[in-house]
């Protein structure tokens, strides 16, 4: 593909129905932390954005939602794609971001630098989308909390090393806090702030 066109092509073939489908997948993933969601519509977001991460961008971002991009994504064709398809403003301030996107292997900034909401408006917080290598085959984790019957198991591969330690701090902020979506290619898993993550000994 001609890189100059990459900022305009690769969106949803059918924006209305595709964004509804992707939203429902994400809604289920946030309501049932640890359950695997699959993005089915055909789209081709510019690298290094994965298919699921790109689908979430198209589904949720618009001119009302400042977006923060990792340095590597910010230097790619993604900003043009985001502007063309969503009209969303970019922000360099993590604390202003409604959505933030990290590519696989990216350094995880301190969670405290993102918008964490206020005690009386805890909804005004960033949703962070983190691409990782794969949603299975990694270190086993146990998830508990709202949306989970007893306990659910997860073994994401390539999770940023700092995430688990920072997640404990994030949980302590409740009802404030960051919500996370892990993506790998077409797949996604929701980690709302209520989710308790325990690393299992291997």
């Amino acid at each position: 593909m001609d890189n100059r066109n990459e900022g305009f092509t690769g969106g949803f073939p059918d924006a209305v129905y595709n964004s509804q489908t992707v939203f429902r997948t994400l809604m289920d993933c946030m309501a049932r932390p640890g359950s695997l969601g699959l993005v089915t519509p055909e789209l081709m977001p510019p690298a290094p954005l994965g298919v699921a991460a790109g689908a979430l961008m198209l589904t949720l971002c618009d001119h009302d939602t400042p977006v923060w991009l990792s340095p590597k994504i910010a230097q790619s064709n993604v900003p043009g794609w985001l502007a063309f398809h969503c009209g969303a403003p970019l922000t360099r301030e993590k604390s202003e971001a409604r959505f933030a996107f990290l590519e696989a292997g990216a350094h995880l900034p301190a969670i405290a630098h993102f918008a964490l909401g206020a005690q009386d408006y805890p909804d005004r917080s960033t949703t962070l989308v983190i691409e990782i290598e794969a949603l299975d085959g990694g270190r086993p984790l146990n998830l508990t909390g709202p949306g989970i019957r007893d306990v659910t198991h997860l073994a994401p591969r390539g999770l940023p090393a700092e995430l688990l330690a920072q997640w404990t701090d994030n949980r302590a902020l409740f009802p404030r806090g960051l919500d996370v979506v892990l993506t790998a290619g077409r797949q996604m898993i929701g980690l709302p702030r209520t989710c308790k993550i325990t690393a299992l000994e291997v």
Partner: protein, 297 residues
């Protein structure tokens, strides 16, 4: 209710424009992440009056897709004017399949009841909410109630319930009985009878609440603790009924009183019409039907 003269153009699938749907969808996601917390949203005018559940209608419109099967109930019934109109609205603007059977529905929009059949994973229950703030009758100022939620200061609510006990010997609240969600937020379950409160507790279904006039969306994720507020010496109790349903004989369900004649004749029947009809189709016979069958013989 006046229907909009829209064609089923994709851009207005389910009536709302895409920008509005995105805004509502973002609010729903935050509501799920903070169970019981009321997320403000920019409620839109809908082609029906506020009393008709415009908040629930907007939530349903934002989540509904062509694969869904929609059920709409009003006080447990599928056939009231309100339920019929909302169902017809979504058939027209979203061309969505509809049902009256709880088990077949993927999305159930409700006013003032939770179906008797246990909801299962994959179902979404959308409540129409008139007044989302459980502390409103104790403290009319939004700035103050917001502060009380922020600080988890719910003492006033307990005082109100305790005054009930002092005055009536029991907690007199029977509708919109306040609950605590996931051990944190006190929430109004909408004007459902308190009979339905236990069904909310650790339900497999996702529960979404939309208040149109008051511009709030809140949620209870599946498998989430929903505990009715009470006191050790006055534990929460649901209503019980002396007799089973007069039509289908069901016990342990919520019954409505039906006046039969002007001489004081009356009977009690299931408020959940689908539940009652299904039981009768399965051969269950209540007292009233039993009598009329005998009379016919």
């Amino acid at each position: 209710m006046s229907m909009p003269a829209t064609e089923l153009a994709a851009y207005n699938f389910a009536y709302l424009d895409e920008q509005t749907k995105r805004m509502i969808r973002r609010a729903i996601l935050k509501a799920i992440a903070i169970p019981g917390y009321q997320v403000p949203f920019a409620s839109r005018e809908m082609p029906m009056p506020y009393g008709w559940g415009t908040g629930g209608v907007q939530v349903t419109a934002a989540i509904l897709g062509p694969q869904d099967v929609l059920k709409v109930i009003d006080q447990g019934a599928d056939d009231t004017t309100n339920a019929v109109s909302i169902r017809a609205f979504f058939q027209k603007v979203a061309n969505v399949a509809v049902t009256t059977h709880t088990g077949e529905a993927t999305v159930i929009q409700t006013r003032h009841r939770i179906p008797e059949d246990t909801l299962r994973e994959g179902q979404v229950l959308v409540y129409q909410v008139p007044i989302p703030e459980p502390l409103r009758f104790l403290e009319p100022r939004e700035t103050e109630t917001r502060k009380m939620h922020a600080l988890e200061e719910y003492g006033l609510m307990h005082v109100k319930l305790y005054e009930d006990i002092a005055r009536h010997g029991r907690i007199a609240t029977t509708y919109a009985y306040p609950v605590k969600v996931a051990g944190r937020y006190v929430m109004d379950p909408s004007p459902t009878p308190k009979f339905d409160n236990p069904k909310m507790h650790r339900s497999e279904a996702l529960q979404l609440f939309g208040a149109g006039r008051e511009k709030r969306i809140y949620a209870v994720p599946p498998f989430t603790d929903v505990v009715s507020l009470d006191f050790e010496d006055h534990p929460f109790e649901v209503q019980s009924f002396d007799k089973p349903c007069a039509l289908c004989g069901a016990r342990h369900v919520y019954l409505d009183e039906v006046v039969l004649d002007d001489r004081g004749g009356r009977m009690f029947v299931c408020s959940d019409t689908d539940y009652c009809e299904t039981r009768r189709a399965d051969g269950h016979v209540g007292e009233m039907l039993g009598q009329s069958q005998e009379a016919a013989e």
